[in-house]
Amino acid sequence: MLPIRVIPIIGCAIGLGLSQPSLYAADPAKRLSSGNTPPIEKQPKNSEEKAWWIEPLPVPFDPELESLIVEVQESLITLNKQMVRRKERLKDTEDPSVKAQLYEELEALRKEQTELEGLLHQLVNEAKISQRTEIDEALAKARWLEQQQERWYQKEELLRDRQE
């Protein structure tokens, strides 16, 4: 039987564990580097990624950019399949001219893959840059009113100054 003090701790641990996927789901960089998707160059890890528990909640990402990232990923998957097929053919064939053609195609595909991965990397960076938090949004909305109050205060202060 577990001591009664341990149960809340386990509960918290489970809670934290459950909350992590949703945090990763909000971050395309983390999503891209997991699952069946082709690996992309590793993002430089900063302290924010490590300290996920203090990370502010982002507002929804740019949907257009997100969908493009997914499409480019799918294109990379297709590209990989094409490369795998050619490699299979290479194993099966003995014809030197066919082999030469396959190597040529593979090289071209590899080059394209590198370029496409570079683009994907840039798109992911764009998505990261465009991140804003809920707090940013809320403060931006309140700024207009704040400025109004500041001006009102400044005017009132000048008038008070006149009183001797």
Binding site: E48, A142, E156
Partner: protein, 370 residues
């Protein structure tokens, strides 16, 4: 703002076209491979000869289409970082019960057209430059001593946003305020520098530290000596201000508490009339009730301790306690037009009875954004 929203519908069109280019060859390619070379038995694929893949459907074409589309998106994003221009034109009609902040209440109506213009450019992905102009003209129906024009130019504002957590801002304001002839002693020119650092914390919290300094030159008012006679120099004030703010969002509401402290120093030597320190606390709540309706409310208390300015007939220095209650509602009619109503109530209590006053202000503002 506009660059992004304008470019995406176009990109969606390009995207669909590119997607068709991409998906068609891939499907055909797969179909050909199956038809031409497959000798499949229970999942094991054997091909006797290689189909002429590149001869019929060059994969380069499909890949080029993908790349073209990605490049277009990236170019659009970069374009959105180019120099942007936006602004607002607005007019406020207000009624104040005591615009002169005097003990005797004489209510008056005012009209205040103003304009705000903003130029901004992302210098790097994390660094943004802004330049702004704000101009206003306030005119009362009867209380003309309160009429003024005000121009504020902010040529240099830099915002650094390295991630989700830190926000660093710094800017400089140049201001010229001009009162009418019968109240021109209040006119001034001012330079102000502000530095602000914010940390977004714990998913939905933030705290912010701000420092402000300004130097204000009164353009018509002479500084006085200790005996109260005008000197040859004009009055000059300097202010040093520290503000700390902490807040959080609860659902769609933003709750904040700000503590504020500043020192004002002046070259006017007459009982150090304009030398004082101020402590202020401001509590505010604001948020969207619906997509178009935004509400806010705040309560502030301020203590102003004059360094020397004596209370009439006494030897003690004056102090003022000010209470401000304000609320507002703004409604976005559409992307261009916004209506707002505001109510502010001030009460000033003091150990100098002649300085006490109340003032309530109702204002109605129409704003056009561009």
């Amino acid at each position: 703002m506009t660059g992004k929203s304008r470019s995406f519908p176009r990109l969606t069109g390009y995207g669909l076209a590119a997607l068709m280019v991409l998906t068609l060859p891939t499907q055909v390619l797969l179909a050909q491979e199956k038809a031409q070379g497959d000798d499949s038995t229970e999942g094991v694929t054997r091909r006797r000869e290689l189909p002429p893949l590149t001869a019929q459907i060059p994969p380069e074409e499909a890949l080029a289409a993908i790349k073209r589309r990605a490049q277009k998106i990236l170019e659009a994003r970069r374009a959105a970082r180019r120099l942007k221009f936006s602004g607002e034109l607005s007019t406020a009609v207000a009624y104040e019960t005591n615009p002169g902040t005097a003990s005797d209440h004489k209510g008056d109506t005012s009209l205040e057209p103003n304009t705000y213009m903003l130029l901004s450019k992302k210098l790097t992905p994390a660094l943004t430059w802004q330049g702004t102009y704000y101009g206003t003209y306030l005119q009362y129906v009867r209380y003309h001593s309160g009429d003024y024009t005000d121009h504020i130019i902010t040529p240099l504002k830099l915002q650094w946003q390295p991630g989700r957590v830190w926000r660093l801002e710094s800017w400089m304001d140049l201001e010229r305020n001009q009162y009418r002839d019968d109240a021109r002693d209040s006119s001034y020119k001012q330079i102000k520098w502000t530095g602000r650092i914010r940390q977004n914390l714990f998913k939905s919290w933030y705290h912010q530290l701000q420092y402000e300094w300004f130097g204000r030159d009164y353009t018509h008012k002479k500084a006085r000596d200790g005996a109260g006679a005008d000197t040859e120099t004009y009055r000059k004030d300097a202010r040093y201000r520290f503000r700390h703010k902490v807040g959080t969002t609860v659902k769609k509401a933003l709750l904040s508490v700000e503590n504020d402290f500043y020192l004002n120093e002046s070259n006017d030597a007459r009982n150090d009339y304009y030398d004082y320190e101020v402590w202020k606390i401001n509590n505010s709540v604001s948020g969207s009730l619906t997509k178009k309706l935004y509400l806010s409310g705040s309560f502030a208390f301020e203590r102003k301790n004059y360094r020397e300015r004596p209370v009439s007939g006494l030897v003690v220095a004056r102090y003022d306690d000010k209470y401000t209650l304000s609320s507002s509602a703004s409604y976005d009619l559409n992307k261009t037009w916004r209506l707002a109503y505001g109510l502010t109530f001030d009460h000033l209590g003091s150990n100098e009875p002649t300085g006490e006053y109340d003032n309530a202000k109702h204002s109605f503002t129409v704003t056009a954004k561009f």
